[in-house]
Amino acid sequence: MNTVLIKNGRVVDPKNKVDGICDIYVVEGKVAKVGIGLIVTADTVIDATGLVVTPGLIDLQVHFREPGREDRETILTGSRAALKGGVTSVVTMPNSTPAADNQSVIEFVIKRAREVGLINIYPTGTITKGQAGGTLSEMRELKTSGAVAVTDDGSDVQDPNLLRRAMEYAKTHDVLIMSHCETNTLTDHGVMHEGFVSTQLGLPGTPEVSEDLAVEKNIILAQKTGARLHLLHNSTKGAMSAIARAKASGAQNITAEVSVQHFALTDTECHGYNTQAKMYPPLRSQDHVDAIIEAIKAGTIDALTTDHAPHIEPDKLLPFVDAAFGSVGLETSFAVMNTYLVEAGHIDLATGIALMTHKPAAIIEIEKGSLEVGADADISIFDVDKEWVVDPKEFESKGKNCVFTDKTLIGKTKHVIIGGVVKMIDEVIIGS
């Protein structure tokens, strides 16, 4: 019988409204006891004095690039990066090569995840064949193969009629749609947020209305069709107000996330033609950042994600207009949340943890993200006071492209337990 005892940590389990010093006893992969001063014997004892113990983090949006671009990331390296960040479950985007528009790719990802055996990986399928926006994918089969949602992330379904059919069809089989909201004709050749900084740099800007219009389109169609819709990486004032309006009108079928870089940084990161700051949605101006933080405080946002997007160095060494979009984030997401939301005084730690645990779990309908007796023992343990400087050379991810490079963050993952098995101890990954 495999047993683990986590002693004397500050347990933050928002779903069960727990926030206090106690012990957790894990038996055979499940939480067996939670209490103060547990007297039990265990195979492994972790002293969590001075540390914060939370349910393992859940990230709804990562790119692991396998199959197809294993030079950028693999399921193994992506899993190791997740462990470093205290992320125990991820949802992988389907824009691999080939795209996950058929059951073979979904089954391959699940098989590789099982072989690697480090974290829980939940694949998604595509909305349209090849993400080409032409014909619908076989969503029912994708779902029965193990996809937790369908998405054309990386692009948006441009044709409103096709998106409507996709939502109606997804509703038929109770499939969750995840939308990357962008209006291609408005983005045009835009490579960063359109504003004074893009004007100073002489770079083509992506107007906020490109996102606003697409968010409105997705929300209206979801309200008409009743499909379950999750809005990926929202970044504008307009998106925040559209989501708030939808929720105020009682829409139960719509959820929304923010990627952590979008409340932490602004478009000024692009100065000096810093291609690490190039991503979609773009880092926006301070007024958008303020609106996002207000929306998080108001409870409008359901999840915080990374949009972890690894690239090889040559793809970022290009002129800014030609460089690849995206930044890695799995090894920094908890620290970014802690630094820019909790330490900055906007929300308390439990609120931030909720947005990275049981709330995203509810969106993809998995029984994870909490630590009550009987729950899966996916547990992350953080030193929330530790300051560190981000150096991508130390990353487990193959992607060294990180917008937080050289920034000082507060909070670091110490230990990670998944399914009752210790996977990382004192920042060292074990068993793989």
Binding site: G202, L318, P319
Partner: protein
């Protein structure tokens, strides 16, 4: 003869250096730098095509990732007049074309012990980023929609010479045309601000880039209103090749609403000057009769000043008196 010129330039220089090693943005240039550059440029203008040896033994490579005729010729002749050996390479800064990063290209050119690298690219930021990887001094000869700093230097020299002043305080400069896609505007607005001018722009809203007022200027949709009281009328070319197409219905309608005609020029002050970075699209940007021979036109003076300013800059960057050397990331 050339010894006398060298002596007089050396006296003007008076042992001074500029505060930068590369020039990719007017943001880098201080007011003191302007004074030094303009004083030397006037000296070089006097010297016309005299063959000098101020930069003898140094090499300049004109690295044009985007084709150019005028600017490349101006930089090349300037270097040759100073005694430098020059060569030119062309190509693309987008590695998609041949698999090599533009950074590899400039590092290779730098390894010829090149002293000056003139870089032009159709993508913004290429000269600035490249400057971090080379020992040579990089001069931006135009990058995308961003900047064209030597154009702004020659424009400012042209204005200051006309007014006979050392700054532009109290002068009203009206810039007309395709603001959004203009690297000339990018540098001009920065230098005008530094020299204290009052800046107005006149263009259809489709040609105004986001937040452009934050440079510290006033935007007008009505050109007549903008031109009243102007000291300088600066017309930009409608750059169809940089995406202007689709931003206005036709060149015909643009010419009617924003083209500089004699009647419009008369709305400016009686001694106002007309400027244009070239090449002029006659009868679209500027009425043909105003282009070169009109008494208020400074368009050819601008070109002459271009050579003079570039020589001043090349000498200052290639031959530092303080002996300071640039340190680059690669070292």
């Amino acid at each position: 003869m050339s010894t006398e010129i060298t002596d007089s330039l050396t006296i003007i220089r008076a042992g001074r250096d500029v505060s930068f090693f590369d020039l990719y943005s007017i943001d880098q240039v201080s007011l003191t730098d302007f004074g030094l550059i303009f004083a030397l440029a006037r000296g070089f203008r006097e010297a016309k095509t005299a063959k000098l040896t101020l930069c003898k033994g140094h090499t300049q490579v004109n690295c044009f990732f985007e084709p150019s005729t005028r600017t490349q010729a101006s930089f090349d002749l300037s270097a040759k007049h100073l005694g430098m050996d020059t060569t030119s390479v062309s190509g693309s800064s987008s590695s998609a074309k041949k698999g090599e990063s533009y950074i590899d290209t400039v590092e290779t050119l730098d390894s010829y012990n090149t002293r000056i690298l003139i870089v032009r690219s159709s993508e913004a930021g290429v000269p600035e980023v490249a400057s971090r990887y080379v020992n040579a001094s990089i001069i931006n000869a135009g990058d995308g929609w961003h900047e064209h700093p030597t154009q702004a230097l020659l424009d400012a020299l042209t204005m200051l010479d006309h007014f006979g002043t050392t700054d532009l305080n109290g002068r009203v400069v009206v810039i007309v045309g395709d603001i959004m896609h203009s690297r000339v505007f990018g540098s001009l607005v920065r230098i005008l601000k530094k020299l204290g001018a009052t800046i107005k722009v006149a263009a259809p809203a489709t040609f105004l880039s986001a937040g452009v007022e934050q440079f510290g200027l006033t935007a007008f949709y009505n050109i007549e209103e903008a031109l009243i009281g102007a000291d300088v009328v600066y017309a930009l070319r409608v750059q169809e090749e940089r995406g202007a197409s689709g931003f206005i219905p036709t060149l015909r309608e643009y010419s009617k609403t924003f083209g500089i005609s004699e009647a419009r020029l008369n709305l400016a002050k009686f001694d106002a000057i007309l400027m244009h970075p070239g090449p002029v699209i006659r009868d679209i940007d500027v009425h043909s009769a105003l282009v070169s021979r009109h008494p208020q036109s400074r368009i050819l003076a601008q070109v002459e000043n271009g050579m003079a300013v570039r020589k001043a800059l090349l000498w200052l960057l290639a031959d530092r008196i303080d002996g300071k050397v640039k340190t680059c990331k690669r070292m």
